[in-house]
Assembly symmetry: C2
Homo-oligomer: 234 residues x 2
Amino acid sequence: MVKALLFDVFGTVVDWRGSVAREAKKALAPKGHELDWRGFARRWRDRYQPAMEEVRSGARPYTILDVLHRENLEALLEEFGVSGLGEAEKDDLNRAWHRLDPWPDAVLGLSRLKRKYIIGTCSNGNIALMVNMARHARLPWDTILGAEVARAYKPQPDAYRLSCAALGLAPGEVMMTAAHNGDLHAAAAEGMATAFVPRRTEHGPGQTTDLEADPGFTVVAEDFIDLADRLGCP
Amino acid sequence: MVKALLFDVFGTVVDWRGSVAREAKKALAPKGHELDWRGFARRWRDRYQPAMEEVRSGARPYTILDVLHRENLEALLEEFGVSGLGEAEKDDLNRAWHRLDPWPDAVLGLSRLKRKYIIGTCSNGNIALMVNMARHARLPWDTILGAEVARAYKPQPDAYRLSCAALGLAPGEVMMTAAHNGDLHAAAAEGMATAFVPRRTEHGPGQTTDLEADPGFTVVAEDFIDLADRLGCP
């Protein structure tokens, strides 16, 4: 019955924390800054939900994530006492989010899943971000869907509903895959099948959330390779 | 300067005429119909521009190509005196457009171009059609753009402009590739670079249009392999 798998990306497919920390260090350490790089990544990420909430609440029109990330970077640099970066340097640092590395099982798992299912993104990242990341990380997506195509940020229903519609499929023919229980509950509410894959170090060694799947999802797998096994993808 | 190549698909990447003829024969011959299959494909295609023109003119809201094709199929079956097909059979025949075969140089050429450039569609076909076709024909797109994402049919400016914007690129950083002079003139008017690749049998052996490139395009190549050569893609 399931014909396509749509994936959350940040945290589920790629390690944003380690990758943004590395990119920030690469950009700022040569300028003499010595920061808590993983803390820098975490604080950037902390500003993600509040920025999207402005769009979800209707307080501001739909704005792509690259722009929200860039606005948040300004505040973040101030918070960490980093000054003197040029606009082009800040733009390049902002594209750290385009250069995130996959979890070790992601590319092989996706490649196996793709043999049997359409695979695509259902991320809050915008199209350019997702395309550049896919090329960097060798993620073999059939296409990029999610927030920018739907013009709605998850967990708003349109982000799921319109992504399924774009594939010409009913929600029940599409499985949402994520490392986040909340994302899957929202997808299930739209009638999608659900797959939980834990990423127990997404937020670092002391992570306390999303360590296990809530009850009721269609499939629970240990990683993408286990997911391919469970879905019968050789 | 060019960072991405966007492609017209019907006629440029895939052979709609031969493929639709084959699919129609496969669906209808077992039911005792003996039609001019290539004529059937051509007449279906003849109804394509008028249907999109209703959307372009504003007479009807944006409607995906699968729906336009399906409406046109009803009229086409009547024209060819084919009756008695069930809805599911007509839906499947309509998806003939999802099962088009690539020109012989397309997959290798695209694979080579992808090593250096982002490659995507800028087609009037909807996302599901393009995704299913890519899986059928092994077209290695980075992503699917064009009419459905832009909610505008080529040659309307938004179809080109918003496809470039979705990649986070200026039009001058994106090269439109097509076998149709008109498509490239419209893309050039938006500031895109242009590549002409002739498909001299798209409409059959007696084709009279688009046999050669008009003057002024950025690149003219004989096929996608020649295009990869000319753009320095090993």
